[in-house]
């Protein structure tokens, strides 16, 4: 075995163009399929693009994708086709990540140093993945190198931001071991000079991943993975309450632990099975000490255990069936609920079945369903059907229709949380709300209650029905265009809403099923290759959202707004802007240069049009008279060179135009500079 330095990393200088390439895609069928045979709308972000963009966190990578908006509030969450972060399931190598705060899984927590590709499926996918897969699925596929390899990189940038990766792969005859370590730290930044929120947040994060693969025989293999992620946030939180500022020293620690143990066995040419045990735990601890000496401690622990078996049966050349079943147990302990010692439990039994039919050369049909039997709530049936029609070698059409669901989570039922640091607002879960608020009312602490307080009741699961129609056209080797129309109809949407105020004016929130919302729109993605060195890509999303009940009220003529002179008038439907935090237009453009010598440069522009932030005129709907985040553009630039001896150098500027909006985009730092140094060697054998 000889070590040689590599001039070509697996994803370096490899042609990335091609919706229709022979690339394998696993997320759509829970089993590997060629991308040109996938019948649902998908996107792939390949590792090379991630590396060349200089991005280090998953949030930064997804921000640049068509149809995805990053929300800011409880970290960076992903909004897919206008649906909130709660409705997109995030997987690492097919396994779900847990640990959401207010429904948001903070994508800053995920390092992208060892990612091979990110697969995205758009549209309800509960038929395979169960709860949370309502808007779609984002699956992060880690880079499982096939040979001995060592990869290291160091990145340093503005705000003393440091990011270091080391990845080591060692392969013996039947065993392969792969380790990955990432360390990230930043001094934080302040984009809100006069803010009532944290203004310096030094963060350290480290991620360790260990994977062992053992091929017992040609037909049986064992795969064990382990991932540990640790995050520390130190903050000085300044809370201004009616003019006085109270400073608190905060220490927030988040720990994630995931482990999988998989046995793969191929019985014969036709049947293979995968027995998968998955365990994950998320712990979040917050300690705050105010200057007045009042400690505030917050603990959230979530456990998720799952055993699943999936069997794939190739019945004949054109027919294929996947059958899966599993058990999930979930447990949550939190100081945010009534009592930290009383664990809230849930147990789910599920079964899914999907049939794939390759009818001749032109048509691929997938029909499947999943049934989730939930201990705490009603069971859920999630059917899905999708069709691919290959018109000719250049043009293909896809139609998919499916239903997704999301069970009310622990937080929405049991939360009992008062933020002592930030203005003493409270959030109460639906089960708790009326009980707690009643008690507070008797103590004379309630200032007023809104009409929706009286609508609080037992939560129901949320359902979404999605229809996606898309066309993919590849007129020649250098051009691709993908057009997609989508519509998601959501019933029983659960949303946090203010239900009243304390006497002090602080808000009280709880959860309600806001029935019947929708998101609909259009996505266009194109890729162009001009010559061997130059290429570009464009992406556009047009999005319309709305709360159907509110629209009905507006049509009835019982919703009002103010004229500029302060007098009132009826709200017109044209004034209505739909759901908050959704932007009508999003645009991405990327220009890419890459030559034979290993030099590359790219410039990426991201545009997002205005979005409603807060309902300031009190009419309970979001309209043109409310508060908006201003539409903006960010420009990112990155350039680098790969040398033949294994070294690589990269430098870049993010947010070149220095767009800052402290109120609405607290996660967006101003202009930042960075440099990356890499060294990789790999055994080419």
């Amino acid at each position: 075995m000889s070590w040689i330095t590599s001039s070509a990393q697996p994803y370096f200088r490899k042609d990335s163009l091609g919706f229709y390439s022979d690339t394998l895609f696993v997320t759509a069928n829970k089993s590997e399929r060629q991308i040109k045979n996938i019948s649902v709308p998908i996107s792939i972000i390949n590792g090379k693009n991630i590396i060349q963009s200089g991005n280090t966190r998953l949030s930064d990578v997804l921000r640049e994708q068509t149809g995805i908006t990053l929300t800011s509030g409880f970290g960076a969450g992903v909004q897919l086709q206008g649906l909130n972060p709660d409705y997109t399931i995030i997987l690492i190598d097919g396994e779900p990540l847990i640990g959401r705060t207010a429904g948001v899984l903070d994508l800053n927590r995920i390092a992208v140093g060892n990612i091979k590709k990110i697969e995205i499926v758009k549209g309800p996918s509960s038929s395979l993945y169960g709860s949370e897969a309502m808007a779609g699925v984002i699956n992060i596929i880690t880079d499982k190198k096939s040979n001995d390899a060592l990869n290291t990189s160091i990145r340093y940038g503005s705000y003393k931001t440091f990011d270091g990766n080391i990845s080591l792969t060692k392969k013996w005859n039947k065993v392969k071991i792969q380790s990955f370590y990432n360390n990230y730290s930043t001094d934080g930044f302040s984009v809100r000079p006069n803010s009532n929120n944290r203004f310096i947040t030094p963060i350290t994060r480290s991620t360790f991943t260990q994977n062992i693969q053992y091929n017992i025989t040609n037909k049986t293999s064992i795969d064990g993975s382990f991932r540990y992620n640790k995050e520390n946030i130190k903050s000085i939180i300044a809370v201004a309450n009616n003019g006085t500022t109270i400073y608190s020293n905060g220490n927030e620690a988040n720990n994630d632990l995931n482990g999988t143990f998989v046995i793969n066995h191929q019985f014969n040419d036709k049947i293979k099975t995968k027995l998968n045990t998955y365990f994950t735990q998320h712990e979040s601890k917050q300690d705050l000490l105010t200057v007045s000496g009042n400690p505030y401690n917050d603990l959230f622990q979530q456990n998720f255990k799952r055993v699943e078996d999936q069997t794939e049966w190739k019945i004949n050349k054109s027919l294929n069936s996947i059958v899966g079943f599993g058990w999930i147990t979930e447990k949550v302990n939190s100081t945010r609920y009534d009592n930290v010692d009383s664990a809230k439990n849930n147990a789910i039994k599920y079964f899914y079945n999907q049939w794939e039919w390759n009818a001749g050369k032109k048509l691929v049909a997938n029909i499947g369903f999943r049934y989730d039997d939930n201990k705490n709530y009603a069971s859920a049936l999630s059917p899905k059907a999708s069709f691919l029609y290959k018109w000719n070698s250049q043009l293909r059409f896809k139609l998919s229709v499916g239903r997704g669901f999301k069970a009310p989570d622990f937080r929405q039922l049991y939360l009992n949380f008062t933020n002592a640091a930030a203005g003493s607002y409270s959030v109460f879960g639906a089960v708790e709300a009326q009980k707690v608020i009643n008690k507070l009312n008797q103590l004379g602490q309630i200032g007023n209650l809104f009409s929706n307080y009286y609508q609080l009741k037992k939560l129901e699961p949320e359902y979404a029905t999605g229809i996606h129609l898309s066309a993919e056209w590849e007129p020649n080797q250098s051009n691709e265009i993908q057009v997609q129309l989508f519509r998601n109809d959501i019933n029983n949407l659960i949303d946090v809403q203010q239900v009243g105020n304390y006497i002090s004016g602080s808000q009280i929130y709880s959860y309600l099923n806001i029935k019947n919302a929708y998101t609909t729109g259009l996505e266009i993605e194109t890729k162009q290759k001009y010559n061997s060195d130059w290429s570009s890509s464009l992406g556009y999303q047009f999005l319309v959202t709305g709360d159907k009940d509110q629209i009905a009220k507006i049509k009835t003529g019982i919703v009002y707004t103010k004229n500029t002179d302060g007098t009132s008038r009826l709200l017109k439907l044209s004034d209505y802007v739909g759901l908050p935090n959704t932007s009508k237009h999003r645009f991405q453009a990327k220009l890419n240069y890459e030559n034979q010598e290993g030099f590359y440069a790219n410039i990426r522009a991201i545009y997002r049009s205005k979005w409603a932030v807060a309902n300031t005129n009190g009419n309970e709907v979001y309209d043109n008279g409310d508060q908006f985040g201003k539409g903006y553009i960010t420009l990112n630039f990155s350039t680098g060179r790969q040398f033949k001896n294994g070294w690589a150098l990269q430098a870049g500027i993010d947010n070149i135009n220095n767009h800052i909006d402290g109120m609405n985009l607290p996660n967006l730092a101003g202009r930042t500079y960075y440099m990356i140094l890499k060294y990789s060697i790999q055994n080419k054998k």
Binding site: N242, G243, Y560, T561, T567, S568, R569, A614
Partner: protein, 214 residues
């Protein structure tokens, strides 16, 4: 079916004739026009407590809708005033607040659309501190408080239907709570939000003839 249509037509015609008859007997009155009161101070801020709470002198500003003028505080125990303002609280001259016949309720709708106070509407009277005729509190009566931006915004489509101290009727729409007659921008400075608040701009129509028709 045809019979029904004929019947409806007959009723419609009959009603029309009736309406025409009654109209001819009504005396034509000049339409009332709205009066706008601008920047009426309502216990404006004079300082900030050690706890950071802004405070005023604690006095009400009394106003006569009938005379369209401020009434001196020394006349608070008379029926000269119709409305009294202190911060976001609006009193009517009745109940626990005054010796007049005052009362009120908040109607959802447009100021101009309110032509007649419906006969079955119930006027509430002040019952301090439990309840007020003009409902007090964010989102309940005439305004909403936005704690993020620390702003008071009058709710759109709210008409304060007032029974005055003398038992006559008026309708009021609050335009703004800030000096200058417009709600401040969310980006206004804290100092500005402090110094310019508690100034009412409102428009009203007072019906001097004692009827509930405007």
């Amino acid at each position: 079916m045809k019979k029904t249509v004929t019947y409806i037509l007959f009723i419609a015609t009959f009603t029309f004739l009736l309406a025409s008859c009654s109209k001819s007997t009504t005396t034509v009155v000049a339409p009332l026009s709205a009066t706008t009161v601008k920047d009426l101070p309502a216990d404006t801020i004079i300082g900030i407590t050690a706890q950071g709470q802004p405070y005023g002198a604690g006095k009400y500003t009394f106003y006569s809708l009938e005379k369209n003028t401020i009434i001196a505080n020394s006349d608070s125990a008379t029926t000269k005033w119709d409305l009294a303002f202190n911060g976001t609280k609006i009193l009517t001259n009745g109940g626990t607040s005054g010796m007049g016949l005052g009362g009120a309720f908040v109607q959802v709708g447009l100021f101009d659309d309110l032509k007649t106070i419906s006969t079955d509407s119930v006027f509430k009277t002040d019952n301090a501190p439990a309840s007020y005729a003009v409902t007090y509190g964010s989102g309940k009566g005439w305004y909403t408080y936005d704690p993020i931006n620390n702003l008071i915004t009058p709710l759109a489509g709210r008409v304060l239907v007032i029974r005055t101290a003398s038992g006559k009727y008026a309708k009021v729409e609050v335009i703004a709570y800030y000096k200058g007659g417009a709600t401040l921008a969310t980006t206004a400075t804290d100092a500005e939000k402090m110094s310019k608040q508690r100034y009412y701009t409102f428009r009203y129509i007072f019906q001097p003839n004692g009827t509930k028709v405007f």
